[in-house]
C-alpha cells in the first residue's frame, strides 16, 4: 500500500499539473478558437484529457508495480522453498545417468507441487486478480488517449464502435430468433 506521505506528494503533483494544464488551456482557448476546424484544433482542445490520463497512468503504474513486485516475490519464495526441499531430499550431487534422472524427477515433482500450491492459494489469487485489474486500468487510460487522437481525425472512438457492435448483435439476435421460430412453425404445420 502507498504511504500517506507519498500519497500526499502524489496528490500535490497531480493538482499542480492539472492546475497548469487548466490555466494553459484557458489561456490558449482564444487563439485556438481562431484556428479552423482542422485536426490540430480538435487535438489541442482535447489535450487536457490526454494530460489527465497521463497523470492517472502514473498513479496506476505505481499500484501495478506494487502488485507485480508481490507477484515476483511470491514466485521467488516458492522457488526458494522448493529448492530447499529438493536439497533435503537429494543432498548428493548426481554423478551417473540414473541418478540424474532420479534427481530431475524429484526436482520436477517438488517444484510442480509447491508452485501448484502457490497458484491454488488465496494470497496468489487475490494478488494476481489485483495485478490484472491494474493492468486493465492502464489499458483503459491508453484507450482513452487513443480515443482523443481518433476523434481529432474524425474517426469513431472505441465507445462509438462498441455501440455499433451492440446494435448489430441485438439485430442479429432478433432476426435469428424470428427465423428459428418461423422454421419451427413451418415444421409443425408440415407435420
Amino acid at each position: 500500500m502507498q504511504s500517506d506521505s507519498s500519497k500526499n506528494t502524489g496528490d500535490y503533483y497531480k493538482h499542480l499539473s492539472l492546475f497548469w494544464t487548466d490555466i494553459m488551456h484557458l489561456m490558449s482557448s482564444k487563439p485556438q478558437a481562431l484556428a479552423s476546424t482542422g485536426p490540430m484544433r480538435a487535438f489541442t482542445s482535447n489535450s487536457k484529457k490526454v494530460t489527465t490520463e497521463l497523470i492517472e497512468i502514473n498513479e496506476d503504474l505505481m499500484g501495478f508495480n506494487e502488485y507485480l513486485t508481490e507477484y515476483y516475490r511470491q514466485l521467488s519464495d516458492a522457488w526458494k522453498d522448493a529448492q530447499k526441499k529438493v536439497n533435503l531430499k537429494a543432498p548428493e550431487v548426481p554423478h551417473d545417468v540414473e541418478q540424474i534422472d532420479s534427481f530431475k524427477r524429484i526436482w520436477i515433482d517438488i517444484f510442480d507441487n509447491d508452485f501448484t500450491e502457490l497458484f491454488d492459494s488465496k494470497k496468489f489469487g487475490e494478488n494476481y486478480g489485483k495485478l490484472v485489474s491494474k493492468e486493465l486500468e492502464l489499458t483503459k487510460h491508453w484507450n482513452n488517449i487513443t480515443n482523443v487522437v481518433l476523434q481529432s481525425v474524425n474517426l469513431p472512438s472505441k465507445e462509438e464502435i462498441d455501440e455499433v457492435y451492440k446494435e448489430l448483435h441485438s439485430l442479429k439476435k432478433r432476426i435469428g430468433k424470428l427465423e428459428l421460430e418461423l422454421k419451427k412453425k413451418e415444421a409443425r404445420n408440415n407435420a
Binding site: D96, G125, S133, T139, K173, A187
Partner: protein, 354 residues
C-alpha cells in the same frame, strides 16, 4: 565433491546425444504449421456467423437411427477429438455406427463481444440441433458436451429437453465452488466486468497464462526434454506435435459469454443451484430427464471431478450413469485408454438408447 574419475562417462554420451537430437530435429520432423489437424473426412452442412456444423462421413454401412451432436469446449478447438486416426474420438464413434456431427465455434472477433450464453445455447446450438433433426428426420438427437462445451450442452438439455434423446457430459464444468483447480482460483479473483469492458473478448493470451500455471515444470521443461530425447520415434513425435499445435491454438471467447461464465459458474455458482438464467429463462437441472451419461477423469487438473460430479446428482433423469476413469482431462478423450475403455463403454450405453 566427487573426483572427475567418478563421473559416469554415460553422462557425456547422453549430453552429446541430446545435443545431436536438437540439431537434427528440424531435419527429422515437420514444423507444427505444416501439420493438418483435420483427419476424418467431413462436410460443413451449416454456417451461422462464425460457427459451423460439421457432419462426418460415415464409416459403416448402417448407422444408429439417432444422430450424435458434439458440443466442443470454448477453449482450444475441436481437433483434439479427431487429432489422429488411432486416437480419434470421432472416428471411433463412426466405426461403432454412430452418425456424428460436431459444432465448431469458430474464431470470434471484436465484433462478437456481445455474444452471450443465450446466443450460444438458444442460437447456435439450437439451430444446429434443428438442422440435424431436419436432415435426419428425427424428433430428438443425442447430445455430447465436453468441458466448457458440456456446460453449454447441459444448459441446452435443461432448456430444450424435448430435442435431446440422450445426453453425454464429458468432464462438464458444473459446480465452480467445488472446483479445486488453479483455473478456478484465478477465476474467483478476477474482475471480469473490468476485463470485458476494457478489452472486449477474453484474449487467447490470458488462456495461455492459465495453461502455463498448470504443472509448469512438467509441462514447460520435462515435456520438451522428452520430445528431443525421442526425436527418432516418429509416432511419439507426430503425436507430440499435433497435441502441441492444438494446445497453441485457442480462439478468443466472446466478452459477454466469458463474463457470464466466470460470474455465474465460478463466482456465484448459479448453475448447480438452479439459479442461472439464459435468455430470460431459469436453467433447472431437474428438467434434464433424458438418459444421461457422465464421464469424469479422476486426474483432471482442468476440471476437477468434484466440479463435474454434481451434474449426476442434480439432474431429474432416472436413467443416469456415472463413470470415472483413471486418466486426465485430455487423456479421457484422446488416448489409448479412451479407445480401449472410455469409448467402448460410451458406445454400448449410447447404442442401447439410439
Amino acid at each position: 565433491m566427487h573426483s572427475e574419475s567418478s563421473v559416469d562417462p554415460k553422462i557425456m554420451e547422453e549430453i552429446l546425444k541430446f545435443s545431436r537430437n536438437v540439431i537434427d530435429a528440424p531435419k527429422l520432423v515437420s514444423a507444427p504449421d505444416e501439420i493438418s489437424l483435420e483427419v476424418t473426412p467431413h462436410d460443413t452442412v451449416l454456417e451461422i456467423d462464425k460457427t459451423r456444423l460439421i457432419h462426418y462421413v460415415p464409416l459403416t454401412e448402417k448407422q444408429h437411427k439417432t444422430p450424435l451432436l458434439i458440443s466442443y469446449a470454448l477453449i482450444n478447438r475441436y481437433h483434439i477429438l479427431d487429432l489422429q486416426p488411432e486416437k480419434s474420438w470421432v472416428r471411433n464413434l463412426l466405426s461403432q455406427g454412430f452418425d456424428v456431427y460436431m459444432l465448431d465455434w469458430g474464431t470470434p472477433t471484436s465484433m462478437d463481444k456481445y455474444l452471450d450464453f443465450d446466443d450460444y445455447v438458444n442460437g447456435y446450438l439450437d439451430s444446429a440441433v434443428e438442422h440435424i433433426k431436419d436432415e435426419s428426420s428425427v424428433e430428438k438427437i443425442s447430445l455430447q458436451g465436453y468441458c466448457t462445451g458440456a456446460t453449454i450442452a447441459t444448459t441446452y438439455a435443461a432448456l430444450h429437453p424435448e430435442s435431446v434423446k440422450n445426453y453425454v457430459a464429458t468432464a462438464p464444468v458444473i459446480d465452480g465452488w467445488r472446483d479445486t483447480t488453479v483455473i478456478s482460483n484465478l477465476a474467483k479473483h478476477m474482475d471480469v466486468d473490468k476485463m470485458v469492458d476494457t478489452i472486449g473478448n477474453m484474449p487467447p493470451e490470458f488462456m495461455y497464462y492459465c495453461f502455463s500455471v498448470l504443472k509448469p515444470f512438467e509441462q514447460g521443461i520435462e515435456k520438451y526434454i522428452r520430445f528431443f530425447k525421442n526425436i527418432d520415434n516418429k509416432k511419439f513425435v507426430d503425436n507430440f506435435l499435433r497435441v502441441e499445435k492444438w494446445l497453441g491454438d485457442t480462439p478468443p471467447i466472446p466478452g459477454e459469454l466469458f463474463k457470464q461464465w466466470i460470474k455465474d459458474i465460478y463466482q456465484k455458482n448459479l448453475l448447480v443451484q438452479n439459479k442461472m438464467y439464459v435468455g430470460g429463462e431459469r436453467v433447472d437441472l431437474k428438467k434434464i430427464d433424458m438418459p444421461t451419461f457422465t464421464q469424469i477423469a479422476v486426474g483432471d487438473h482442468l476440471v476437477s471431478p468434484e466440479c463435474s460430479m454434481p451434474l449426476h446428482y442434480g439432474i431429474g433423469s432416472d436413467d443416469k450413469t456415472l463413470r470415472m476413469y483413471p486418466t486426465g482431462h485430455v487423456g479421457m478423450i484422446a488416448s489409448s485408454l479412451s479407445q480401449k475403455k472410455v469409448l467402448p463403454e460410451l458406445g454400448t450405453w449410447l447404442s442401447e438408447r439410439s
